[in-house]
Structure formats: C-alpha cells, structure tokens
Amino acid sequence: MLTANPQLTPDKKLRHLLTTEGLPKSLIENILDTAAQFVSVGDRDVKKVPLLRGKSVFNLFFENSTRTRTTFEIAAKRLSADVINLNINASSTSKGESLVDTIDNLIAMDADMFVVRHAQSGAAHLIAKHVNAVRPNVAVINAGDGRHAHPTQGLLDMYTIRHYKKSFHNLSVAIVGDILHSRVARSGIHALTTLGCPDVRVIGPKTLIPTECERMGVSVHHDMLRGIEGCDVVMMLRLQNERMEGPLLPSAQEFFKSYGLTAEKLARAKADAIVMHPGPMNRGVEIESTIADGRQAVILPQVTFGIAVRMAVMSMVGAGRGDAA
C-alpha cells in the first residue's frame, strides 16, 4: 500500500534522507544552495560551524566503506557533532542480533542521527520507519542501501553538474556501465529527472541494464559511441571486481573495449563535457588513466563538494524541523 513519502515531514521538509526519488525539486535545490554555503568552510583556518554541537551522529556501516564513511565523518565534525563509527558486520549481526534490535540499542545511547550503509535495498527505509515509531526526533541518512539508493552521492553529483553547467534544462547526461547494480545511477537518475534534465541516457551491455529501465525516464543505449554523442556530462560507474568475469561479463578487457571511457569515445561528447566518477576508480576498466587525470575530469572536485553536500543534508535533518538551522 502506498503511503506518504517517509522522508518528508507533513509540511514537505526533509525528515530523513533515504532516496532522491520523490524529493520535491525545491527541496533538492535548497540542499544544493545550503551546500554552496558550506563549501567555503573547508577553506577556513577553523573548519567548523556549530550547527550540530552536542548532537551524536552514529555512522552505522553494515557494509565496508572507508571513503563514504570518512566524508560523512568529516562533514559531521565540521558541524561540531560527536561522531561514533560502528562497523556492524564485524560485531552484532554476527551474533544474530536483528537490525531493529541494533537500532534500539543505539537509540538507548541517545543517538540523534544515523548514517546507514547496508547491503539490503530498503534497509534505510526500515530503520526510518522504526525510528519514527519509537523516537521521532532521530534522523536517518541513507549512505547506500543495496542497489537501491545512495542519495548523498546523487546530490553531490547534482551539485557538481550545477557547478560546472549552471543549469539542468538543456543538458544531456550519459551514465555508463553497471546500471543494474548501481545505487549511484538510480539516485542520479531520479535527481536529474526531478531537476528538469531533459536527456538522461544510460549506456551498458544488456546484462547490466535493469528491466524496464526506460520507465525511470531515461533512454537506453548499448552502443557507447552513439550513446555519448553530444553529451554535456559523462558519469562513469564503478564495476565491482566480482562482476568482471562471470555470467554478466566475460572479462574486464572486453568491457573496457565497449564501455571504457577513452579519448576516442570522449571526443564524441561535447568539447566542454565533464567526466565524473563516484570512486573508487578502476583505471583501465571503466576509464582510461589519461581521461581520469585529464582536463575534463571533475572527479576530485566531486569529493570536495561531497563533504559540503553531506553537511547540508545533516544540518537540515539535524535541525529537527527539516530546515537549515
């Protein structure tokens, strides 16, 4: 049964951040505008603002990640929050504790915010639903759930695109690679279509494109040379090691031949096209080194903007009212 969007308050402010799907356009723009104010914090001598002083942010990582966890940790610390990092797969669940029990225990330790990464699609929604029932002032931020969503990555990608391209209204964006398993692709697609991007293309072999993908508002291409033609933005996705050889792909080399980003392929895009990648990169599998380090790549700025975007999201959900304090 469909219910109200669980990440919004009744007056449509940000309560949790679970997915970019269904976020109002004005709210996404508000997040990006708030992030813009935080970008300069990183340039200061004292890289801190007091918005979350006295709040406890729990980084709950049921799946290993160094990079995302670190950027959330930096973002929380710059907002003056106390940060507790928990790698759960190494502790509780191996003892048979359920996800909901783990959350209840951490709520009893007076957590104010959970940043959650989990291998199961929908895990963040489950936690948000539970939190709403038992401790409504606790916020949940999805840091990646299965194949479903990675909304802060989607938003930092939007920030990056807006930074370089100013507007979404005449853009062509190509997302290339393993769309099937990619929460980054899904979060990017929903954010782009919401922001009014008229031309979102996904490019990959049929084994890595989800069924009825077009229904998400994208066009599907299997020929990268044609798919990338005239694009303003090329978003490359990471190909997981375990998928490089098996029933989905014969080899990393063959994948690179068709879908790796090379100078030759990039030449089909617009001359001022930007190249993005959520990291960590597999050089020579998704992307040629010269491109990754080239003048069109904005991969490192993505990381910097990511901290500001996460600060914006945390400050908004942490304010309790769903607005920047």
Binding site: M1, L2, G122, H125, G146, R147, H148, P210, M216
Partner: protein, 428 residues
C-alpha cells in the same frame, strides 16, 4: 443429530442453484447432507435450527494450501491456532504442504499430523507428502507408504528440484501408482537470488528480480515431462500471464494438469510494495498489473481451477527486517472468503462461480466430493453475511500469523457459522 439451516440464500456452486429469490433450506443428518428444499423431508425433526436470514449458505471452503506450521515451527503458529483460524474463515477442508520441520517425508509424521488434527475436531486436513526425501530434490520420498498414511499427493513446496532428471523420475514413479504431483513451477536458476518480480518496480527499488520466464520455463519443462511420463500434475501458485497461457495450452492438448492461484495474486501487484513493505513479499512474487489481469481471466475461464489462501503465518520479527530478508507470504485463512468476494466484485464474476473456485472446484482437484449440496454429500457448510464489514487487526485475526497486507483494513463478508461434518465448529 439433525440440523436445519433455514431462510438463507443457498448457493450450491456445483449446480448453480442460486437462491436469490427464495428461501431454500438445508437439512443435515449426522455428518451428511440429507436434502435441500422448502420442506423438511418426511420424518425429519430438527434437533437444532440455524436461522440464516439475510445470509448466504455456501459449502464449506476447500483451501488448497494452508501452512499449519506443525511440526517444527510452533513459534509461528500451531495446529490448534490455525485450525481455529480455518473455522473462523469458513474453511472446512485444507491441504497442508510438507514444508514443516522435519518435512513430511515419513509416514509416522503424517499419521501424527492427522491424529492431532482429528482430536482438534475442526477442518479436515489433507496432507501433501514430500516429493523428495527431505525436500532436497535428490532422491524419491516413499510415496506409496506416505499415500497409505494419508497423503493425497506429493509436493516439493518452495524448494527447487534443480536436477531435471530427478523431476523426470519423480513423475515416472508417481505415474506408476497414479499419484498426483504438486509443483510450484519456478526454474531454480532463473529465480536464484531474486526477491521481487523482474520489472519496473524491482528495477526502481534495486531489488533483484525473478523474471516471469522462471515460471514459463518450468511449466514448459513440466508439460514436456508429463507427455513422456503420463504423470498427473497440479501446478501450485501461478503468478504470470505467460504461465497461465502455457497451462491453457497444456489443457487444450489434453494433459492431466490442474492449477491454482493464491488469492493475493488476484488482487495485488508489485506496485503495492511501495516503500519496501515486506508484507507484500510473496513466493512467487507479486507481478505486474497485466499478470494479475491474466490470472484473473484464467480463474474465470477455468484454466486455473481453484483459488487458495496460500496461508503462511509467520511471527512479526520475520517481517520486521529489510525486504530482501523478510519471510515471503501472508496469513490468509480468514481472508480467503472476503478477498474472493472482493475479487469477484472487481472482476465482475457471478458469486456462484467465485464460490466454486474455493469450494467444489478445489475439491475436484483433490478428487473429493466436498463443495456440493446433494443428498449424501459431506455436511460442510459456510454461512456468511455478505454485507457485514469487519476490521482486520491483530486482535480480530484468530490465526497466530498477523502478517497480512490487509492489516488495519476493512473486509466485507463475514463468516457467521462454520459447520464441518455436521458439527458447528464456529459461530461468530
């Protein structure tokens, strides 16, 4: 003991008697139907009279799949709780699958189950034995012994037979004795790791998909092996449009095949999963609206013989986990009747036809004589008020399984009396 049920609107779906405009009384003597008519048969003096004015008097429901969870899963439900739920739902005959712990692959377990059920004195229990030892899909179960202990057929439940040669041999062996094999058609490899229908919703939510072809490939394989072995097969829980079409063709070709569908699959689709609501996780998965419509058409034209509850009670902890970790299935015994009425209304199906699919047609799949009001037929009756509403809540559900997509929703159609073998087993 003589029982008279008077003033009700009697519906015998086997012959299409539809007492809309007249009161037809039902006269029961001991465990069987004595007669139907305006007047009591000669010398019939009722010991007890039930006034069914304003209600429908139908045969007791025959449910082709209800998990009672005993032995082994008593934390989810017990024989006692679920048989009471059956009575509350108007179900007087039910088929229980062998996916208990231990599985029903030994005659002693089947005898114990039948004995336990008999002492509780409610719905008739028809156990399905395991098709393969331990349901492992490797070696044959002792079908002859199990049949002698009371199994009405042999089922692999939701466990796959990965090795097609094992499937072939089970069909050959069952055909030797004329036993019916029950199979839930799903190719183990195509379904592997999947948790939702492979379509728009699963793609959007990032849930691993189970394609419709998992069902159609399995049915094509089964139909081919039926031709070779002569085995009789009941296909349990169809879920896809392609599956319905293959069954339609198999029947047209004269194969001895029957089929059922779970009631939820006639009403719900993958769209209902919403934001990962685990109450909507089913095996097989809820599919697209066009699949649901094809299933509905299949029930109407008789390609699908019967509708069942696919009753799967679980405890709340098993649903309060991420969607992909949730136990599939829903509690259903008490919703089978009202949901079938709801489907009939939506699909514009005459009431006797809809009732036939949960009574006489289901009994025919089992080769049993329930579901008819003729002299000498088993006196199994379900009396219900078609206009009464009731709320589905943790408290109103008799089943120990409170897992249902319909929690906190209203149902129309309430059972008021259930009579099994001439005995009143429920009065609500």
């Amino acid at each position: 003991m003589k029982l008279e049920i008077r003033n009700g609107r009697l519906i015998d779906p086997s012959v299409g008697i539809n007492g809309r405009d007249e009161h037809v009384n039902l006269y029961i003597e001991d465990t069987v139907v004595c007669s139907v008519g305006q007047e009591a048969p000669n010398g019939f003096v009722a010991d007890k009279v039930i006034d069914a004015a304003g209600k429908i008097v139908a045969p007791g429901l025959v449910d082709l799949c209800a998990r009672l969870r005993e032995p082994g899963y008593e934390h989810k439900a017990t024989l006692e709780s679920e048989l009471m739920a059956a009575s509350a739902g108007g179900v007087t005959s039910l088929v229980c699958p062998p996916d208990t712990e231990p599985v029903l692959d030994e005659p002693g377990l089947v005898e114990m189950l039948k004995r336990r059920g008999w002492t509780l004195n409610q719905a008739r229990i028809y156990p399905l034995g395991a098709l393969t030892a331990g349901l492992k899909g490797e070696t044959l179960a002792e079908m002859l012994e199990l049949a002698e202990a009371g199994c009405i057929g042999f089922f692999q439940a939701d466990r796959p037979i990965v090795d097609t040669s094992v499937l072939y041999r089970t069909m050959q062996y069952a055909a030797t004795y004329g036993f019916t094999i029950w199979l839930r058609p799903e190719d183990a490899f195509l379904a592997r790791g999947g948790i939702a229908h492979d379509g728009e919703v699963a793609s959007r939510l990032g849930l691993a998909g189970i394609p419709s072809s998992a069902e159609s490939v399995a049915i094509a394989t089964i139909a081919t092996l039926m031709r070779e072995t002569g085995a009789r097969v009941h296909l349990a829980r169809l879920s896809s449009s392609a599956g319905v079409e293959l069954v339609r063709r198999a029947k047209a070709d004269g194969l001895p095949v029957t089929a059922d569908v779970g009631i939820h699959h006639l009403l719900l689709t993958d769209r209902d999963i919403g934001y990962f609501d685990s109450q909507y996780r089913f095996s097989p998965p809820l599919r697209s609206p066009s699949d649901r419509d094809a299933l509905s058409a299949g029930v109407i034209d008789g390609t699908i013989n019967a509708i069942c509850s696919d009753h799967t009670p679980t405890d709340e902890d098993e649903k309060n986990v991420p969607f992909g970790e949730a136990t599939p299935g829903a509690s259903g015994l008490e919703m089978l009747l009202p949901l079938t009425l709801k489907w009939a209304e939506h699909a514009n199906v005459p009431l006797p036809t809809a009732l036939a699919r949960i009574t006489v047609n289901a009994a025919e799949v089992l080769g049993k004589s329930q579901g008819r009001f003729v002299a000498g037929a088993p006196a199994d009756v379900c009396i219900f008020d078609p206009r009464a509403f009731w709320a589905v809540t943790r408290e109103t559900l008799v089943s120990q399984g409170k897992n249902t997509p319909y929690l906190a929703r209203e149902m129309q159609g309430k059972v008021t009396h259930t009579i099994c073998a001439g005995r009143l087993v429920y009065a609500g």
